[in-house]
């Protein structure tokens, strides 16, 4: 009797032991509730999807530059397959790469570590979020192999093409695509609730609103934007799914519906979505820039308020995607004004980055190179957006390669440069090893230079009036001059070079993880809290009795009264 009592007491004590017990492989890496493991799961799933999306880009660019050839690793590309490839390339890169990696992976990994919490507020909801996301990826991949092939109605999925299997010829593919997208949104809803609540309620003692590292703010503002914009799209997606499967007529004008309605619901989400992925990338960039120029972030509050203003404005610009969809021209005027207005806060953030760099002691490490290239490349994307935001010019540019080049100049810096910047910067904290700098720089230049060679020719093609949804330009002799084919070939060859250089990155990751130098706690001499714990951080992040306390803001570099040029947030003096 006494023995059992002691057993029970022991168990109770063990139960209170803050879950620091040993875990098996499956519970540690597959069904983990640890925010760091969930972040890694998101990141590796996202990177796998990026490889798939990159492969799709390779196949359809080969078809565009050399129409009709048998693409190595794929074969002949039929028109249906071409449509399916571009649709799923877009969907994957936005919903299964940019969002999971930038927001979910880094949000999960960074927010608790940077605000000094042991985990998210709702760890099990967090795990559910990844599981739903994983299922959505599987559903999307299955949709590519069902009868009739994958959905081919572009990632915007406009009805009536997407609503009726008589038009799109992909009965199952279209529905599975839509279900996958909806599941993915559910996953990010669960994740976003976690991010916002954790930032509000789990900060370290002493961390006031203006002591929160900017990247955490940015991910949380992005999550709020996502929460507020996704509802109408989910409503529209349910209606589209019913049109596809239950034969309703929400988007069918013959039965009293309205096809333009979907465009409004889609872009009401779709435009804030651009800022949902942009803000975390900006947060990552300013974090890296402040660390490697050893200077305080210029205008912390300015950046924060600007991000909020961008978020508010982003809800009033959606119709600039529909200037030629038959909307009222007076409405187009209003949306032109709001669209040009939103370039002001974004320009402000780029100026803040330049002001942070100005006069700093800059070290050109690999993450810093990525951060600087974000500034340069995103600027081109932003400036070309002005042409498209003006409704008069947009009538000529709409659905040409100019649009395509424009949004790749924004999304590539966001999703690819932003990810590489964050990954190379926080790699020591994730795996406890330093990455190889030489290989990192080779990979950097091997990515950035070909990237410009892909998309600058496409700007020229777009200004020449080339439509972006043509499968084989040889079918249109009047716009298929040899000079255009040369530009397309340049773009495709540059893409092949860029994809080849990604091998350097994967080699670098594997080699550094395996044989890299030990990183120590704080290899970059940075201030934020994640650098005060071991690399990699243990389960629970810090010892339970020794959670960090915050005494100052995150960017106190180069303080005149201190010997070291950095001043970690957790030091009392």
């Amino acid at each position: 009797m006494a023995d059992t009592l002691v057993e029970v007491q022991k168990q109770e004590i063990h139960g209170q032991d803050h879950e620091h017990h040993d875990q098996g492989f499956v519970s540690k890496y597959i069904f983990s509730t640890d925010h760091k493991i969930i972040g890694m799961q998101y990141m590796f799933t996202g990177m796998l999807m990026a490889v798939i999306g990159g492969y799709m880009a390779y196949v359809f660019r080969m078809q565009l530059a050399f129409p009709g050839i048998s693409v190595p690793g794929f074969g002949q590309v039929s028109p249906g397959e071409y449509n399916s490839l571009i649709t799923n390339h877009g969907s994957i890169m936005i919903f299964w790469v940019a969002m999971p990696v930038l927001i979910a992976a880094f949000g999960n990994f960074l927010i608790p570590l940077m605000i000094g919490a042991d985990d998210m507020v709702f760890p099990r909801i967090n795990r559910l979020s990844f599981q739903v996301f994983f299922i959505s990826s599987v559903v999307l991949l299955i949709s590519l192999f069902v009868e009739g092939g994958g959905f081919g109605g572009a990632w915007t999925s406009y009805p009536p093409l997407s609503a009726n299997a008589d038009y799109n010829q992909t009965q199952l593919g279209a529905s599975l695509w839509l279900i996958a997208v909806a599941l993915e949104f559910v996953a990010f809803l669960l994740g976003g609730i976690n991010f916002i609540t954790t930032l509000m309620n789990s900060r370290a003692p002493g961390m006031k609103a203006y002591d929160i590292p900017m990247v955490c703010w940015m991910i949380v503002i992005a999550s709020i934007l996502f929460m507020l914009s996704v509802g109408p799209l989910l409503a529209g997606a349910v209606m589209l799914l019913f049109d596809q499967t239950l034969n309703t007529g929400f988007y069918d004008p013959a039965r009293g519906g309205d096809p333009i309605l979907w465009q409004h619901l889609f872009w009401f989400f779709g435009h804030p979505e651009v800022y949902v992925v942009l803000l975390p990338a900006i947060g990552i960039t300013v974090e890296v820039m402040a660390t490697f120029s050893r200077k305080k972030l210029f205008g912390y509050k300015l950046v924060l308020y600007t991000a909020v203003a961008t978020g508010v404005l982003s809800f009033f610009v959606w119709a600039h995607h529909q200037f030629i969809a038959g909307i009222d021209p007076r409405m187009a005027n209003v949306f032109t004004v709001t669209t040009l207005l939103i370039s002001v806060p974004i320009a402000e953030m780029l100026f803040v980055m330049i002001a942070t760099l100005y006069g700093g002691s800059i070290t050109l490490t690999t993450p810093m190179l990525w951060a600087l290239s974000f500034l340069a490349e995103f600027l081109i994307g932003g400036v070309t957006g002005i042409f498209l935001g003006a409704s008069g010019a947009d009538i000529y540019f709409h659905d040409t390669y100019f649009v395509l080049a424009h949004f790749h100049y924004t999304f590539f810096p966001i999703a690819i440069i932003g990810t590489f910047c964050a990954f190379t910067y926080w790699f020591p904290k994730m795996f406890g090893k330093m990455m190889n700098e030489t290989l990192g720089k080779i990979h950097f230049w091997g990515t950035i230079i070909p990237f410009n060679f892909i998309f600058i020719p496409l700007f020229v093609l777009g200004m020449g009036g080339q439509h972006r949804r043509i499968y084989n330009f040889e079918h249109f002799p009047e716009i298929a001059g040899p000079e255009y084919f040369q530009l397309r070939e340049i773009a495709t060859i540059a893409l092949l070079i860029m994809l080849a250089f990604q091998a350097v990155f994967f080699f670098n990751v594997v080699m550094s993880w395996w044989k890299g130098e030990d990183a120590g706690k704080n290899p970059w001499k940075a201030n934020t809290l994640e650098w005060t714990t071991d690399s990699p951080a243990p389960h629970g992040n810090w010892p339970v009795e020794d959670l960090p306390t915050v005494y100052r803001g995150p960017y106190e570099y180069g303080h005149p009264d201190r010997e070291e040029d950095y001043w970690p947030q957790n030091l009392p003096g």
Partner: protein, 198 residues
Amino acid sequence: MSAKPATQLTAPRPSKLKPAIPSGVLGVLIFIFTEIMFFSGLISAHTIVKSQAAGQMWPPYGQPRLPVGETALNSLALLVSGVVLVFTWFAFKRDPERARIPLLISIALGLVFVGFQGVEWVALLSEGLTMQSSAYGGFFYLIVGSHAIHAVGALIALIWAYDRSSKGRLTSTQLGTVSAFWYFVVLVWPVLYWQVYL
């Protein structure tokens, strides 16, 4: 944020952060904001399609009118259920034991509402109003059906709360979380009724 003077090298240890809203309630509030936007999407879609209806005929020719009067009475049951839940909250604050009966009344009224909506659907289906018959029918079942799913979900949460309270294990955060969601279901309904039925 501002640089501290050199003399002040040690600061007093800051105290632990006290959340203004408990995490569970905050989480469900954020979820409710998303839901509000979801219903706004449905309502604005409905309004646009209604305003473009052929010949301004709404309901379209050959489609039955919705039962405005009966549903108004039924809506009252839902609103009363919400009010009773407010009393449940105050009763719970005084004595958790005394919250059980108002909670039960609130759940019962909610069940009456959902049950009566189901009866109404069967009647409308027999009169020829289906999701496929027109955009009017489609929107009716979509919007009211979405609300019904939310109502059922919230009722399950309330029944779970009742089960916990009968075991004496209901905390105020738990009650606050499930109540917040039920208030949302109650308060969104008058807007839907106004837009869809009237």
